[in-house]
């Protein structure tokens, strides 16, 4: 977890040995910057205390936030000035300031893509775009465009770091709140693109599971059609995950998503289980035969998981003794193959024997 501690927490910064001389040189270098920074901080906090809601005070917050985007009190002060100021009394004035803040935070995000306070301020900007529809419906174009632009911005952010959870959270927030919502199918297509460019992107698989769940839940079709549609989507998902399985079998994302898919079709687990286990086993055999001694832990873990589900949920319909024996055999092997989690496999053997 990075922020809100990122400045204090030096993530990924290499340690360098400093001599007393290095330290003294650094002290000299930073001395005047510290003095300026503290003076600016002091002016701002004094202004805040004295309820100075002027444009000058507003501009000072811009300066300090460019130096330190984690100074949350300065963001708060800035928003309070915004609420009080006279220089933004017209709608045009408000739009101008908000659009300036959106560009300012964009620059800040490029340098600090994981600072909560910046993402947070962007949300505030969007939420404060005035609604002008009563006077002139065309005026709302700006609002609509601003929200649309956010999807573009967040896509850029996810292009540079496809796992940035701030960006994914923001994306979901935009999709849920934009004035004219986009159809869920277009978000499904977005996750396809992200997954196809990198099967390891678990964040994209996660988003896909959420989008599909909401598609399944929104029964806007009549039930029979909807069921058929569900089945088609469902088959397509298994095909997609099968490809990923073969491409990148050591990636946890694949097995996690496979498990979600199986879980979401739990009601028909008995019908599909054999097919499913067979397909995972086929993948496993294929991997093992390519490289004689390689056993894929993800494959084996999944087979055990589905067999345990059958034992637990369908005890009267399956050959319990055989499934238990098979699970035990695999769990013994897994203890050797995956020693980090040996004790877990031991515990699972114990629960099977009960």
């Amino acid at each position: 977890m990075r922020s809100p501690y990122s400045l204090q927490r030096k993530h990924g910064v290499k340690r360098i040995r400093q001599t007393a001389q290095d330290r003294e040189a650094k002290r000299q270098r930073e001395q005047s910057r510290i003095k300026d920074y503290l003076a600016l901080t002091n002016v701002i906090l004094t202004g805040k205390k004295n309820k100075d809601w002027s444009e000058d005070a507003f501009n000072l917050t811009t300066r300090i936030l460019q130096l330190n985007p984690e100074f949350y009190t300065a963001w708060n002060y800035r928003r309070n000035i915004f609420a009080w100021i006279n220089f933004a009394s017209s709608h045009q004035g408000i739009l101008k300031i908000l659009s300036e803040d959106l560009s300012m935070t964009m620059t800040a995000l490029k340098a600090h893509p994981k600072v909560y306070w910046i993402w947070n301020h962007r949300r505030w900007c969007l939420e404060n775009i005035p609604d002008l529809s009563e006077s002139d419906p065309n005026d709302n174009t700006w609002k609509k465009e601003a929200w649309d632009r956010e999807l573009f911005v967040v896509e850029k952010m996810l292009d540079s770091d496809p796992r940035n959870f701030h960006a994914w959270d923001y994306r979901r927030y935009i999709l849920a709140n934009m004035p004219i919502p986009r159809p869920p199918a277009s978000e499904l297509a977005y996750t396809s693109r992200k997954i196809e460019s990198n099967f390891s992107n678990f964040s994209a698989w996660h988003q896909r599971s959420k989008v599909l769940s909401s598609l399944w839940e929104s029964g806007d079709l009549d039930e029979s059609k909807s069921k058929e549609k569900d089945r088609n989507i469902w088959c397509a998902e298994f095909e997609l995950i099968r490809n990923a399985m073969y491409t990148d079998p050591n990636d946890q994302s694949v097995w996690m998503y496979h498990r979600w898919l199986v879980g979401s079709s739990k009601s028909c687990l008995l019908v599909i289980a054999h097919h499913l286990i067979a397909s995972v086993r086929e993948c496993h055999c294929c991997l093992s035969s390519n490289n004689f001694n390689v056993f894929n832990i993800g494959c084996m873990e999944s087979i055990v998981c589905y067999k345990r589900m059958l034992i637990k949920d369908h005890a009267t319909d399956v050959d319990l003794a055989m499934l238990t024996r098979e699970c035990n055999g695999m769990l013994q092997q897994l203890q050797e193959l995956d020693p980090l989690r040996r004790r877990r496999y031991e515990d699972l053997v114990g629960t099977l024997l009960k």
Binding site: Q8, H11, Q252
Partner: protein, 332 residues
Amino acid sequence: MCANPTQLLIPLHVSYIQKLGDSKDDLAYHLSAHLRLNAIYWGYTALAIMNHPDALDREQMIDFVMSCWDQEAGAFGAHPDHDAHLLSTLSAIQILTAQDAVDKVDVDCVVKFILSLHQPSGVFAGDQFGEIDTRFLYCAVSALSLLGRLHELDKDGKREKTVEYILRCRNYDGGFGSCVGAESHAAQVFVCVAALAILDRMDCVDVDTLAFWLCERQLPNGGLNGRPEKLEDVCYSFWVLSSLSILGKVHWIDVDKLVAFILSAQDTENGGIADRPGDMVDVFHTLFGVAGLSILGYPGLVDLDPIYCMPAKLIEAKGLRKSWEALPRREA
């Protein structure tokens, strides 16, 4: 000094933490003023777990905490004249609780501040500007509990709403995210599971699925990551281990390898622990490295309560101990 230490260098870490306040010639010190109160909590707790609870001056600590009081909001900011926030308010309450100095605070006022941030959905906002996150929910629940005022949530169904919100953040992998719809993340798992533990609702957790996800966080080098296919980081030693400990499954990971990984991230020259070997240290990773080692039964350390991330004895004395299991303390 050896390059790859096999022991926790306690005296070095104690002096590293003691000297943190002397870094005023360092620009980074001033740029992190918005985390000062949190940093004092991290430093103090690390010292207490290393059995040096008196290494920082008690009066100075209490005076600093009280100087962060935000009279307008009725809670604590992270630094004098900074705005009140739940993140810094929890740190303040934790420090004052550990110093037995809660009587210095207008508790009614703090409780009012916390309750005012409860949202209709059940989550808490961090401050009056409305950012929501399960981290803030944990801060609120933990602080109310430490103040002996958790029952305040019973009014108007706030308690049920809070639990409902946590459960809406649960994903199919058994983990929890920062808000509804968000991806599972080990730190968010900690805040959600620990909040459920404080609220006596561990019956809602799917232990097998979640503990599987948590033990899958261990990588071949022994370190833990926070999400699938991400790099290891010492701070997950706490987020993952505390959750596993609440679930009674610490033994599901390879203990020796994780201990070795945490120890390898120490600065053997100036003290402190980094996110991973060879990186710059900071007080945040120093606490969470030491906290992880305590849960793993590392010799010579004091027991940590994984739910409140405070010394276990203190939490027990307040009658707040919930169910959790750390590994037995080993002999040196």
